[in-house]
């Protein structure tokens, strides 16, 4: 019933608007087309000016309302560079924006049709045109220069002391792998992926580098503050994207083509909680590439902590290899050496 009334009211509104519009056309003709046209012209010229002023106030108001809701200071070294580049660009484009919009609407208002004025025949002026080719070109060169400088800094090789974490996306979750003591991620092959055999990433157990790799899912990724981290990014099914808004980083996860990205977290989760006055604060991993019906909920978390906290956490984790082959577990071997057949069972 309610919907019905809304439809009726809308239809009525339409009808009334239309009738007024039609009537105004007749009135215009009766009062003399030329005269009413000139009057409409004045009204619209004035409205353009109002729109300019209203728009400028709107831009200011919008900024006041929303500037507090964007992410706040970046939490990585690259993030600082990216924000610097962003603010340089905002400053330059902001100046251009205000100048050109003001000129556009001011000219429209000022040079509205008037019987007193004749349009000025002004087909070209090479000097002017040269000026507004060269100035944007120079400005853009500056922007390109800064941009490429930072771009190479960010996309360059990761520092030697960077820790490595592998992150794998699939519909609609993230899985992580730490390389363990040898600092090498073991080889994997997608045809070995088998959830039933507890091998979610397709690790090749023949590769000894795999024996100490730690697999983590369903809980946050842990990183060390002020220590560079290189993410090795992959996907199992469709393209995903590792988006880290607080670190200002992003990289696609492409099935078949591993990608990498590195950065240095500069703030711990604890620090962020204090800074944002939000005890529930978490660094989030968002999927930024459309990946299917659950795309909007493909969420991961990151905890940034100091080295001791991280060490304590990683020590509490058992390498995947030892979960799959419990008999190879040195801790277990000491406690229970009587069941050597377990390995073959798990393998099947």
């Amino acid at each position: 019933m309610q919907t019905f009334f809304i439809v009726v009211i809308l239809a009525l509104g339409f009808l009334i608007t239309f009738q007024i519009a039609k009537a105004s056309e007749y009135v215009g003709i009766m009062r003399g087309e030329e005269k009413s046209r000139k009057q409409t012209n004045k009204v619209n010229a004035f409205l353009l000016l109002i729109f300019l002023i209203g728009g400028m106030i709107g831009v200011y108001y919008c900024n006041e309302r929303l500037k507090g809701k964007i992410l706040g200071a970046p939490a990585s070294d690259h993030g600082v560079n990216i924000d610097t580049m962003l603010y340089i660009t905002i400053a330059i484009t902001g100046v251009v924006f205000f100048i050109t919009q003001i000129i556009l609407f001011w000219f429209s208002f000022k040079y509205q049709e008037s019987d007193k004025r004749k349009a000025y025949y002004y087909p070209h002026n090479n000097k002017l045109e040269l000026i507004w080719t060269v100035i944007p070109a120079i400005t853009l060169t500056v922007l390109v220069g800064f941009g490429i400088f930072y771009w190479f800094k960010i996309t360059g090789e990761a520092p030697k002391n960077a820790m490595v974490v592998e992150i794998t996306g699939s519909q609609f979750k993230w899985e992580y792998r730490y390389p363990g003591k040898d600092k090498i991620l073991g080889k994997k092959y997608f045809k070995q992926i088998d959830d039933a055999a507890n091998n979610q990433l397709g690790q090749l157990w023949d590769d000894p580098a795999n024996h100490d790799d730690i697999y983590v899912t369903g809980e946050p990724m842990h990183l060390v503050v002020n220590r560079p981290v290189k993410l090795v990014i992959g996907a199992k099914d469709v393209i995903h994207d590792v988006g880290l808004p607080h670190f200002r980083m992003k990289m696609d996860a492409v099935p078949g083509t591993p990608t990498t990205m590195w950065f240095t977290p500069t703030k711990t989760t604890k620090q962020m909680r204090e800074e944002t006055n939000n005890p529930a604060f978490m660094f989030e991993i968002s999927c930024d590439q459309m990946c299917g019906r659950g795309h909007f909920g493909m969420r991961g978390e990151i905890i940034v902590e100091n080295q001791e906290e991280y060490d304590a956490w990683i020590l509490s984790k058992k390498p995947k290899y030892l979960t799959v082959f419990p008999d190879k577990d040195p801790a277990k071997q000491k406690a229970d050496t009587t069941k050597p057949a377990a390995a073959t069972v798990a393998r099947n």
């Binding site: 353009l48 709107g58 919008c62 050109t100 397709g202 199992k236 808004p245």
Partner: protein, 602 residues
């Protein structure tokens, strides 16, 4: 078909100026006049009306998914009435949401802003403004429309399949779009999307080749290339872009069809989906993105250039001044057309692209800002010291310039790979391309419709409704898309239909509601325009002056309701460029007027 075929020789005959006089009198049945018409004006109208219908569908879809964004989790029982189990209990399901988003993008980009905008005005304006009786090949021109129609039917059909239309985003990236297991939208809907797109590309190529050959070969006497009105130049570059880039999309789409149906691995490698290990190895998912964006980026300019051309013409006519810097306008069109082929990878900065290659694309992308800046400054100078008449067309043209500035400047953010790392695939991108490509081109299209409606139908649109349409639309467009940039700066990814489970992204509830309400209002204003359009075709105020705007171009030298063949008698000869407004104290001097003895040079 046979009727259309037998008309062709007649049209060919009519190109001969001596026989032009008795043209337009031959008998035409309803079918040859309105349906399988070979008259470029009728084909233009067919493109326009089909485009308008698609725009209503695509616009309605955006209102529906805005409902979800503004009021996540709320039920709208009316949706269940119309969409059944897509919206069970009135709640928009994620599959439905993504189908809506995908269809909105596909419809608006291809069916409305490519076919509806460039198809309409290329057909209408090219023969009329270059002084030709029809296109180089009226029959292929007709086929161009009917292939578009077929593409439309296939796309429409996909919406009525059991698993719904394609829902992998309008870019249709594989593997998501390639694997049936990946979601409902990747089932039959994706096949139909690809078939529809292939048909659409055939249509675009037929149209484009015709536009190019007509402009190059069929200009009337005296119409040198540098005397062409700017819309024709813009449409020429548009056609060139389409002819060179659409085949690449076709190849991309066909390879995807192969991957889907014939077991090939062009885009597929190392995939395990829902626990199923696929045999494909060695393909590259990124290859599709290269093929797609090699069309996809020129496509932006396929949409934008016709709008730019028409805006140049309309601003000049209604400020009663020549367009400032005709040659610079032309040069910048050319530069944009060339550069648009060299920037596609800026859509792929975060795909793992080689950083060096990325930096080259940064340079080339930001280079486009230079010709764009030239165009803006030239439009501003065209207004300077003019005597501006604010018809609805003028207002939409001014609105276009304003939106083009706003959206163009945010392009400088995204074209810079460093900033793009943060802003890529966020709402900032959505705001940027909607302003600069979506709304701006739509403004160009509206400007064109208001300006050339008298030529199309011999009647005027209702002005009051036109003004209302403009003001609601421009205010609405800025209210919708300006604050959206802030969501992007906050890192909110695109295509998130519910942000409530996120800590970082859930601060914009109020804003999302406001945007939704405004988008409904703007949509209603567009419906009002559509009503005005159809009402005025039949009941609008009649045009009594063959040249109602006091314009110089050739289309206004035809009768008020030109028949097939456009001019009665001989095609007029052209003696000057199209922009002698306000010269030597005369308000306007049509292109057909010979240069006077004492006329000043420009």
């Amino acid at each position: 078909m046979s009727e259309a075929a037998h008309i062709h020789p007649e049209v060919a005959v009519s190109h001969d100026v001596h026989h032009g006089g008795d043209h337009g009198h031959h008998h035409q049945s309803f079918i040859t006049k309105y349906i399988f018409s070979t008259d470029h004006k009728m084909i233009g109208k067919q493109f326009l009306i089909t485009g308008i219908i698609w725009a209503i569908v695509g616009g309605l879809f955006s209102v529906l998914f805005r409902l979800q964004l503004g009021y996540p989790g709320q039920t709208f029982p009316i949706l269940e009435t119309f969409f059944g189990n897509y919206a069970e209990g009135g709640l928009i399901k994620p599959e439905f949401y993504y189908a809506l988003v995908t269809m909105h993008g596909t419809i608006l980009v291809f069916f409305v802003l490519t076919a509806g905008l460039s198809g309409t005005f290329a057909n209408l304006l090219i023969p009329l403004q270059v002084g030709a009786r029809d296109m180089a090949s009226p029959f292929i021109n007709m086929l161009s429309y009917w292939f578009f129609w077929l593409a439309s039917i296939v796309m429409l059909a996909s919406m009525f399949t059991q698993t719904g239309p394609a829902s992998g985003g309008w870019t249709m990236y594989p593997p998501l779009s390639a694997l049936r297991q990946a979601g409902d939208g990747s089932k039959i809907g994706a096949d139909l999307w690809l078939v529809s797109m292939a048909l659409f590309i055939v249509s675009a190529l037929m149209g484009g080749l015709n536009y190019i050959s007509t402009i190059l070969n069929m200009r009337t006497k005296g119409m040198s290339m540098t005397r062409l009105p700017l819309p024709i130049w813009a449409l020429f570059f548009t056609a060139v872009l389409g002819v060179l880039s659409f085949p690449v999309l076709l190849s991309g789409a066909i390879l995807l069809l192969f991957d889907r149906n014939l077991g090939t691995s062009f885009y597929l490698s190392d995939i395990v989906i829902n626990g199923e290990i696929l045999p494909n190895e060695g393909g590259s998912a990124i290859l599709y993105q290269h093929l797609f964006w090699f069309l996809g980026h020129p496509e932006v300019y396929i949409i934008l250039l016709p709008a730019m051309g028409m805006v140049s013409e309309i601003l000049s006519v209604h400020s009663r001044k020549p367009i400032f810097g005709y040659m610079a306008m032309l040069g910048s069109l050319f530069a944009i057309a060339i550069l648009s082929f060299l920037v596609w990878a800026h859509h792929m900065f975060v795909t793992g692209l080689n950083p060096f290659l990325g930096s080259v694309f940064v340079l080339l992308t930001l280079l486009i800002a230079v010709p764009s800046a030239i165009k803006v400054f030239n439009w501003l100078t065209t207004l300077w010291r003019g005597n501006i008449r604010f018809t609805p067309a003028t207002l939409f043209a001014i609105g276009f310039v304003s939106l083009f500035i706003s959206g163009g400047l945010t392009g400088i953010f995204l074209g810079n790979s460093t900033i793009d790392i943060h802003l890529h695939d966020t709402m900032f991108v959505v705001a940027h391309f909607h302003i600069v490509m979506g709304v701006a081109s739509m403004f160009g299209m509206h400007a064109g419709i208001y300006h050339w409606f008298p030529k199309m139908y011999g009647r005027y649109l209702n002005n009051t409704l036109g003004y209302l349409h403009f003001w609601v639309t421009i205010i609405g467009a800025y209210l919708i898309f300006w604050p959206m940039h802030y969501q992007g700066l906050a890192g909110i990814p695109r295509r998130y239909l519910d942000k409530s489970s996120w800590l970082s992204f859930n601060e914009f509830g109020e804003l999302d509601k406001m945007i939704t309400v405004v988008s409904i209002v703007v949509f209603a204003a567009q419906l009002m325009f559509v009503f005005n359009f159809f009402y005025s075709i039949f009941k609008g105020r009649k045009v009594t002056n063959p040249n109602p705007w006091g314009a110089n171009t050739l289309e206004w030298s035809t009768p008020i309701n030109p028949g097939h063949g456009n001019w009665e008698g001989e095609i007029p000869e052209v003696h000057r460029w199209a922009y002698d407004y306000g010269k030597d104290g005369r308000e306007f001097i049509p292109q057909t007027e010979p240069i006077g003895a004492n006329e000043s040079k420009h």
